[in-house]
């Protein structure tokens, strides 16, 4: 790589050509703080926290966007720089609702940390008028408190650049500037898909998931309720981050132990219902291919993606697999088969799911998700909410022993495990579809072509006599690319996996929030998905159809995949949604 010479704080360093001052400093192990900067996504140079002095420059320079040039002399720690950073923070604080002690992001707030790092000693130094905003909570999944917004616009960039959706932006101007939807509409009145990528982009407490933990505590306390919890595949790859562990720490055993200590009547593995999804979906795929059904078949386990399809590509709703998501399948079979076995009235069963996703909070309330006369799932909480519950309950997560899921829904296959990462559903389905078609075991279970965190992946496989062409997309921006290619005829595929969030569930909008100082420089998606693939590799049962719990369920209750009972419990329908509701 071509190098240039720079001088940082009086010392000579080499830096990659075309790097920014920020990157050059980082290469030299010189920390420059940032707030608005989100590498490759949001680079407006607007928070002015990363200002540095450059010899010869008229004013201070924003390190995140300014290119480093040959011979440049950079100063990151002068009195002028320190003062500018401090005043910037004091100004932000002067228009910030400083209820830090009761804020959801207390001790996990980038602004708070920065104020500490830069010795802000008087939060009211520039006291003056403050903007007062009402809290926006019109949807099932999101709370926006603009009183805490610092207008870094990372949420706007996540929505626009990462997801190519753009339902939020800056309204008004000057001191009255604030983030909102066009014409100040409620979020529930615009075509927001609920992915929650804005939340994980937010440095402060301005954006958060709608907290559903209270009703869970209440249900647990209620002796008339049978309260069970089911944890999605990706949670075990991320929950550790809530307790200071490195991204990619696999904490399945501790997670189960913690859930058990929270007082649930049953702690179950959603990997099993992921397997169930595969049983149904593989069947659906083979059926559509053999019987000239609507192709390509597109996966349906990501509710953010489902809403995206319904809003933006309604012409593809018939391509969607009718399979419910693993979360909903769990609720549907638990409240029917397993409840019956336990002599429970479905009305008394309270199903909690722990999911990496804010859109799942919307999914539980959708039409066609109440197979037993009551909602399949009663409460869906994100990894973050579970983290808070564990802390609140006084459970020392890091010291917990590894424990196992409760019987009978205790076993998930490796195929279910990898559901949490982009390409995982595709690979899981291929493992089952291949063996179903060929009637013999696969030699190699790893479908490498569909692994990895790239936004768009394509592959073709020969399953016996059948050639199956597939595509995988994660993030709605990438979904758009695939759908457009299919529409134009440029892409000819039979099976498509789409997950609404970039990288899939391991990077979902309900996952632990990592500060941008980590996210900009650590490949969270790879680290987290590796945890799942490593776990899959170690499992004995790696195919959904070989999961004994699945076999028992079909043998004793469901009958055949796609059969009448399965159809009633495990499948749903979609609707075309109008982008403009008012």
């Amino acid at each position: 790589m071509e190098k240039i010479n720079v001088k940082i704080n009086g010392r000579d360093y080499g830096a990659a050509k075309n790097s920014t001052i920020l990157e050059a400093c980082r290469e030299a192990s010189v920390e420059v703080p940032t707030l608005c900067y989100m590498k490759g996504v949001n680079e407006p140079g607007s928070c002015r926290i990363c200002l540095v002095e450059v010899k010869g420059a008229r004013s201070l320079v924003a390190a995140c966007v300014a290119p480093a040039n040959e011979g440049m002399e950079i100063f990151t720690n002068t009195k002028a720089v320190q003062k500018a950073r401090k005043i910037n923070l004091e100004l932000i604080l002067s228009d910030h609702k400083k209820d830090c002690l009761s804020c959801i992001r207390n001790q996990n707030c980038e602004l708070q940390k920065m104020c500490k790092d830069f010795s802000v000693d008087d939060e009211n130094y520039f006291k003056g008028d403050r903007n007062e905003y009402k809290t926006e909570g019109s949807t099932e999944y999101l709370v926006r408190d603009n009183n805490k917004c610092i207008l870094c616009r990372r949420c706007v960039a996540a929505c626009e650049k990462l997801q190519d959706i753009s339902v939020i932006g800056a309204n008004d101007r000057g001191f009255s500037t604030h983030i909102g939807c066009a014409f100040e509409m409620d979020l529930s009145d615009v075509a927001c898909v609920g992915c929650g990528q804005c939340i994980v982009a937010c440095p402060t407490g301005a954006l958060s998931e709608k907290d559903d933990t209270r009703q869970i505590w209440e249900a647990i306390e209620d002796p008339s309720k049978h309260v069970v919890v089911c944890a999605a595949p990706s949670i075990r790859a991320t929950l550790g981050e809530c307790f200071g562990m490195e991204p990619g720490s696999f904490v399945e055993g501790k997670m189960v132990a913690a859930l058990k200590r929270l007082g649930f009547d049953g702690v179950y593995d959603m990997n099993m219902t992921a397997d169930l999804t595969i049983m149904e979906e593989a069947n659906e795929l083979i059926d559509r291919i053999k019987n000239n059904g609507r192709l390509p078949l597109i996966t349906s386990c990501s509710p953010g993606w489902i809403q995206y399809c319904e809003y933006y590509y309604p012409e593809f709703t018939e391509n969607l697999s009718t399979c419910k998501s693993p979360q909903q399948m769990f609720g549907a079979v638990y409240k029917s088969y397993y409840a019956k076995k336990k002599n429970l009235d479905p009305k008394d069963v309270f199903v909690v799911s722990v999911i990496p996703c804010t859109a799942k909070k919307f999914e539980i309330a959708r039409d066609g998700q109440s197979a037993n006369g009551v909602r399949d799932v009663d409460a869906a909480v994100t990894t973050r909410e579970l983290g808070r519950m564990i802390t609140k309950a006084g459970i020392n997560f890091n010291n917990l022993p590894d424990e196992k899921f409760d019987s009978p829904i205790e076993t998930g296959s490796g195929a279910g495990m990898i559901f949490g990462a982009t390409g995982g559903v595709m690979e899981a389905a291929l493992r089952t579809a291949a063996e179903t078609i060929m009637g013999e075991p696969l030699e190699k279970l790893d479908f490498e072509e569909v692994r990895g965190i790239e936004g768009v992946k394509k592959a073709a496989y020969k399953l016996g006599d059948l050639e199956v062409k597939v595509a995988v997309a994660s993030g709605t921006a990438n979904a758009k690319k695939i759908l457009e290619a299919v529409k134009s005829g440029e892409l000819d595929v039979q099976f498509v996996e789409i997950m609404g969030c970039p990288g899939g569930c391991i990077n979902g909008g309900g996952q632990p929030v990592q500060p941008m100082s980590v996210r900009n420089f650590t490949d969270l998606k790879t680290a987290r998905s590796k945890a799942l693939y490593d776990a899959d590799a170690k499992l004995k049962v790696r195919k959904s159809h070989e999961n004994p719990v699945i076999k028992e369920l079909y043998d004793n209750y469901l009958g055949e995949p796609g059969g009448e009972k399965a159809h009633h419990l495990l499948h749903t329908h979609y609707t075309k949604r109008n982008k403009y509701k008012k």
Binding site: P44, G45, S46, C47, R48, L51, S59, L60, A62, V65, A66, P67, A80, K83, A84, I87, N88, L91, I92, S94, D95, F126, G128, D129, I150, L151, G169, A170, D172, R173, G174, F175, S176, T177
Partner: protein, 620 residues
């Protein structure tokens, strides 16, 4: 007709001149820029036409022109008569009746209607604007056609060498020649920063790109500045021609003029100019047979001040919220739609045709060492001759205000002048002899800006004026970066605190601290210059700030909260007029006895002062 080459253009010019020569034997022009029309130029125009028709007068051309420059005297008409001793007579403050009289007396009767001339009643009995102090010291390059030609008639423009600069460039000048000529001329951007225009063009020229753009900033937003509007209303072709020249020089075939929608007359005339140029082949494909293609489009802005900042303007043209982007990359490298783009303002472009035709030496012979040519200023505030003037760079403020501007009205004393609008600073009387150029203005804490020049007299409170300008920037901040969005608001609040009598000494330190911060830490030029009015007034008029804070006094008598209305016993004759007019019954006193004001009831509405005929009520 279509102009296919230089010969065509020459032929058209000759023809136009012949035709116009006859037409212009007796020519009456009416200043019909927005200002003239607002003052009532349209009925004046109609009256002129009616009266000419009624009198069956022949061979008289009545034509609309752009801004003549003297706002104070609008509506203005001028009569040009070839071969006569008084071949140019300027009539001012016209109305329909007066206009009819001008026709009767002057055109039909052959005598100047002296009661209405510009110098009417004055000692030297001046009848033409050319002989006024206001006009004599001016040198009009960018305004050369304003008030002279019909802006809606391309032939008028061509008759005065219009499009000959473009023809010259396309017939024998290489792109490098054009850029070198411009660099040699020393022309600097007239929109604010004063960046050398030739250098800017050279940057864009050197970029290797399949597409480049030429943009014109006509988003004039400084309160009190209106030279760009006047040029577009009075001489739109000068901008169209210069943009085509720029397109040739940098290798662009497409241009945009970004103009605020609040300038409907300018938008209309610019649209007409572009259409005419297209029809004649002066825009479009293969211009004058040269193989060079260039087309122009107008984009309307919603009037946000920040969209005068080049990157915000480009973002707005792209269809996004008008907010600035960090630089580098500069637009010359990565501008509109990510392509190399040059962006100059209207006044800059209006100079270019003349520079091409008259040469770099001619232009660089004007002005000062580092600021060449002329600059248009919009004179406003406490000054006798408000209006638009174009003067050579280097003229002192004293001459501009005292001679061209006619001094301060009502015998008041000059206190300060604000240049550069809300981004500029206040220049005190002590610096009255500073020659006006880019670098001098910057050195004394102000800036050239787009050329607004607001004059203040002794009745102006400098704290209040700083607050006024800051109020504007607080309102116009786009809200993207914190220093500007929050910082200017906090500065404004501090000024409010000071002017309402609650200021503390530490507030002055905070103001300076914030001002310095916003200047060095803001994202774009708007924020980087926003504190100038405060910092410059704090520098030159610090005693006023201190007296507001310490003594709770506003010497100029502007800040109401700091004022007391007091009746002077020795002057009050007890007429009770003030008592009657007081809305809060704060004044008491018996007839023929001195009155007094109850300070706790007084709301400082000023009604009593205005009512008192004896000067018995003072504010202090």
């Amino acid at each position: 007709m279509k102009i296919n080459n230089l010969a065509d253009l020459n032929a058209l010019k000759e023809e136009a001149n012949k035709r116009l020569e006859v037409k212009w034997k007796t020519k009456i022009v009416v200043g019909m820029a927005t200002c003239g029309m607002a003052a009532g130029a349209t009925p004046v125009m109609n009256a002129l036409k009616e009266e000419i028709a009624a009198g069956k007068l022949e061979n008289i051309e009545v034509s609309q022109v752009g801004c003549i420059g003297l706002c104070e005297y609008e509506p203005i008409i001028e009569v040009f008569e070839e071969g006569k001793e008084n071949n140019r007579v300027t009539y001012v403050k016209m109305d329909a009746e007066k206009a009819k009289e001008v026709i009767k007396t002057h055109i039909a009767g052959g005598k100047i209607a002296e009661a209405y001339t510009i110098g009417a009643g004055g000692e030297d009995n001046i009848s033409s604007i050319e002989n006024t102090q206001f006009y004599k010291h001016q040198q009009r390059i960018s305004l050369r056609n304003c008030g002279v030609i019909d802006p809606e008639n391309i032939e008028d423009y061509i008759a005065g060498d219009g499009y000959f600069a473009l023809a010259k460039v396309l017939n024998g000048m290489s792109r490098e020649d054009v850029i070198k000529l411009l660099k040699d001329s020393g022309l600097r951007g007239r929109g604010g920063g004063g960046f050398p225009t030739g250098l800017k063009w050279e940057f864009a020229f050197k970029q290797d790109s399949d597409k480049k753009y030429v943009c014109c900033n006509a988003d004039e937003g400084d309160p009190g500045a209106f030279m760009d509007r006047s040029i577009l209303e009075g001489d739109p072709h000068s901008v169209v021609e210069a943009m085509a020249i720029a397109g040739y020089a940098v290798g662009s075939d497409e241009g945009y003029i970004y103009i605020r929608a609040e300038y409907p007359v300018a938008v209309k005339r610019l649209g007409i100019a572009i259409d005419q140029a297209k029809k004649m082949g002066l825009l479009g494909k293969d211009i004058m047979g040269s193989g060079f293609n260039f087309d122009l489009e107008i984009r309307l802005g919603a009037g946000a001040f920040v969209c005068g900042e080049e990157t915000a303007l480009i973002t707005s043209i792209e269809g996004n919220r008008g907010e600035p982007r960090p630089r580098p990359p500069f637009p010359a490298v990565k501008g509109l739609f990510g392509k190399p783009t040059i962006l100059n303002n209207v006044e800059t472009y209006a100079n270019i045709g003349q520079i091409i035709l008259n040469g770099a030496d001619w232009f660089s012979g004007l002005g000062t060492e580092k600021s060449k040519g002329t600059k248009v200023f919009a004179l406003g505030g406490k000054i006798t001759n408000t209006g638009l003037v174009e003067i050579p760079m280097g003229m002192t403020l004293r001459k501009v205000v005292g001679e061209i501007g006619g001094g301060i009205p009502n015998g008041k004393k000059f206190k300060a002048a604000q240049t550069g609008g809300p981004s500029g600073g206040c220049i005190p009387a002590s610096l009255f002899d500073t020659p006006i150029d880019y670098d001098n203005l910057t050195a004394i804490g102000s800036m050239m800006g787009s050329g607004g020049l607001i004059v203040m007299d002794e009745d102006t409170c400098m704290v209040d004026i700083a607050k006024y300008f800051l109020d504007f920037t607080v309102d116009e901040s786009c809200g993207k970066c914190g220093p500007c969005r929050i910082g200017t608001k906090r500065m404004y609040e501090l000024l409010e605190k000071i002017t309402s009598g609650n200021g503390e000494e530490e507030d002055l330190d905070k103001l300076e601290e914030l001002g310095a911060h916003i200047k060095s830490a803001s994202l774009c030029g708007l924020g980087q210059t926003a504190p100038n009015p405060v910092l410059s007034t704090m520098k030159y008029f610090r005693d006023e700030y201190i007296s507001h804070v310490k003594d709770k006094k506003c010497a100029a008598g502007v800040c109401k909260s700091l004022l007391s209305y007091i009746i002077l016993e020795d002057k009050c004759i007890g007429c009770t007029a003030c008592k009657k007019v007081c809305p809060t019954e704060a004044i008491s006193g018996e007839r023929k006895e001195a009155h007094a004001i109850d300070q706790s009831k007084c709301i400082k509405c000023d009604a009593c002062v205005q009512k008192c005929k004896f000067g018995a009520i003072i504010k202090r």
